[in-house]
């Protein structure tokens, strides 16, 4: 749906917004556009302003500045009840006193449908969500995954031109999450208008969204296709999310001189400001300084912490170059790794990846 560089085509269709919200000492200032049918994920750490952005798009928080256009209509002064916007809230906020059916029928009722008409529409939505047999259930008797689908049906039942989802999977346990994520992906793929979802989980974002917009401290720090962002992180936060060691420096041929002192040898030839990234699995650790090693990227480090990471051990190293290294439990035992232990770390140039900053 998006052009190769990840920026949607300029047109009146879809979402075109510049959201500025000032609150106390915090300022949110992001530009967000999306084409119809596109699913955009706002990804960022807690407190980055993602939810505020979502609430501003829904009209629950007034804009301090900027603009909001949906399919060409200016909406920044429109009250929330008149915006063609549907919201799936983080903990769903299903009305506890209404059945699943009446929760979904609530929107159509407010949009002028008769009670019978609204209910039949709602029944249709529940059917599509595979929840027909739970129509009469109260929200509290629904499972997390079912409640999530009722919330989605409720938001879709008003035929919004912008669908907002706030941490749609955060309230679910790990097992249901997997299943619901797949279902949600299917429903979002069928959705013809713009969908914006907010999440702090990179996996949710990458599975569900066509494009990621990474927000930190109230501003957009990077955006693009998930695969592109995963390969070329531009901030420590994103690098950590996608599990990469990331350094910034100045490239000069095959060498990138880091701002902090050491330099890295890479296969790419670049010049000027550049990033270097490599996965923790590319790091090899040694107890003694390796002799005759072909690796030119060699640093003396110290173990700061160890944690199990699946069937691997992730070592957090400080020293000349702070980095994360993955190794097997056997290797960790042989190296006698423990916090404070001195180690030598090497990385083959072929396993690093440099790109212009």
């Amino acid at each position: 749906m998006s052009t190769p560089d990840g920026i949607p085509p300029d047109s009146a269709e879809g979402l075109d917004s510049h959201v500025v919200v000032d609150r106390d000492a915090f300022r949110l200032d992001i530009t967000l556009s999306a084409a119809p049918g596109e699913v955009v994920a706002l990804l960022g750490p807690n407190g980055a302003g993602k939810t505020t952005a979502l609430r501003a798009l829904a009209g629950l928080v007034p804009l301090t500045g900027g603009h909001l256009r949906l399919d060409g209509d200016a909406l920044e002064r429109t009250p929330p009840e008149s915006r063609p916007v549907g919201v799936v809230f983080q903990d769903y906020l299903l009305f506890p006193h209404l059945s699943a059916l009446d929760n979904v029928a609530f929107g159509p009722r407010c949009h002028g449908a008769s009670k019978a008409e609204a209910r039949s529409q709602a029944a249709g939505w529940l059917e599509r969500m595979g929840l027909a047999e739970h129509a009469g259930a109260r929200p509290r008797s629904l499972s997390g995954g079912q409640a999530q689908r009722v919330a989605l049906a409720r938001a879709l039942a008003t035929h919004p031109r912008l669908l907002l989802l706030d941490e749609p999977l955060a309230a679910l346990d790990a097992r249901t999450r997997l299943e619901v994520r797949a279902q949600l992906r299917r429903h979002l793929a069928e959705f013809e208008a713009v969908a914006v979802l907010v999440t702090h989980d990179p996996l949710d974002a990458m599975v569900l969204a066509d494009r990621l917009v990474v927000v930190e401290h109230g501003t957009v720090v990077q955006q693009g296709a998930p695969s592109d962002i995963a390969r070329h992180p531009r901030t420590d936060y994103i690098a950590q999310l996608v599990g990469l060691n990331l350094y910034r420096g100045r490239a000069d041929g095959h060498t990138v001189h880091l701002d902090t002192g050491p330099s890295l040898t890479t296969t790419e030839i670049l010049s000027g400001p550049a990033f270097v990234a490599f996965p923790p699995s590319a790091v090899t650790l040694h107890r003694d300084r390796p002799t005759g090693s072909s690796a030119r990227n060699l640093w003396r480090c110290e173990v700061a912490g160890l944690e199990t990471h699946g069937d691997q051990i992730r070592a957090d190293l400080t020293g000349e170059l702070p980095l994360a290294a993955d190794l097997t439990t056997v290797a960790a035992a042989e190296l006698d790794l423990h916090p404070g232990a001195p180690v030598w770390a090497t990385v083959k140039a072929a396993q690093t990846h440099a790109y212009p900053a």
Binding site: L60, H97, C110
Partner: protein, 277 residues
């Protein structure tokens, strides 16, 4: 929880459950307080003219006063609901300058001597009152010393109970449900009517019962603003007071009826307050 007592059981002193001793200095006044609260009620039951009670309670005067009391207390509660619930919503959900002051003023009748409330009502709505003179001149409406006056006096005293109860429930209720309703196309009033109101219904019910009980027992404001006319403004508490001077047995009988109603109210609120501790 008291800290474990030092072991004073030397040798073969009888082993028993460890006394979680209540200090005598607290126990005595506590029991005295309990007795003080219960004794009058016991006296009421002891001195009740049980043999003539059926006759007393079926007398037309008693029925008249009881019926008037029930009608007025219920009307006052209804009026409190109509104007008190929106007021509670305003206090809980909106922010305007001087909200704290308004809230304090709303709760003022809770602590104001009811007689003062009656005097104030007279000055406001009496025939020569600030508003009352216009009501009289323009519409020919006279409020003091009428049954409507009783309802107004009771509402004045009882409504704060409802407002405080509903406001507390509203504050505890998640306002995001209203936001969810808004994003579904509901106006703020629709959101209030279809989402907020059902969610806070238990709080409204509790507040209404409390207000109703307060209205039923209202004496000071009623007698000051509405007077004491049998069949028109003489409610149960007024009848009790009057009967005590001429026919004590009737006063006791009437008091028993009010006591029974109070116990019924308490039983109705049992789940909400008695177990909340």
């Amino acid at each position: 929880m008291t800290p474990p007592a030092p072991d004073t059981r030397k040798g073969g002193r009888r082993p028993g459950p460890i006394r979680t001793g209540v200090p005598f200095a607290l126990l005595l006044p506590a029991l005295l307080g309990l007795a003080f609260l219960l004794l009058p009620l016991v006296a009421l039951l002891v001195r009740a003219p049980w043999h003539s009670l059926p006759e007393q309670l079926t007398s037309p005067e008693v029925w008249q006063a009881l019926r008037l009391s029930l009608v007025c207390a219920t009307s006052a509660t209804a009026l409190s609901l109509v104007i008190g619930v929106p007021l509670a919503w305003l206090l809980a959900r909106t922010d305007f300058p001087g909200r704290g002051l308004v809230r304090a003023l709303v709760t003022l009748p809770l602590v104001l001597p009811p007689v003062v409330g009656g005097v104030a009502l007279l000055l406001a709505l009496g025939r020569n009152g600030v508003v009352g003179q216009w009501l009289d001149a323009w519409f020919g409406i006279t409020l003091p010393f009428t049954t409507t006056g009783v309802v107004l006096a009771e509402t004045f005293v009882a409504m704060p109970f409802l407002v405080i109860s509903v406001e507390g429930t509203l504050r505890a209720a998640d306002p995001r449900y209203e936001e969810a309703a808004t994003t579904l196309g509901a106006s703020r009033f629709t959101a209030f009517r279809r989402v907020t109101l059902p969610l806070i219904a238990p709080g409204i019910a509790a507040g209404a019962v409390l207000a109703w009980a307060r209205a039923l027992g209202e004496f000071g404001a009623t007698i000051t603003f509405a007077g004491n006319f049998p069949g028109r403004t003489q409610t149960m508490p007024l009848a009790v007071y009057l009967a005590l001077q001429s026919d004590p047995e009737a006063a006791i009988a009437l008091s028993l009826v009010l006591l029974a109603v109070s116990i019924a109210v308490l039983a109705g609120l049992r789940d909400r307050w008695m177990t909340a501790s």
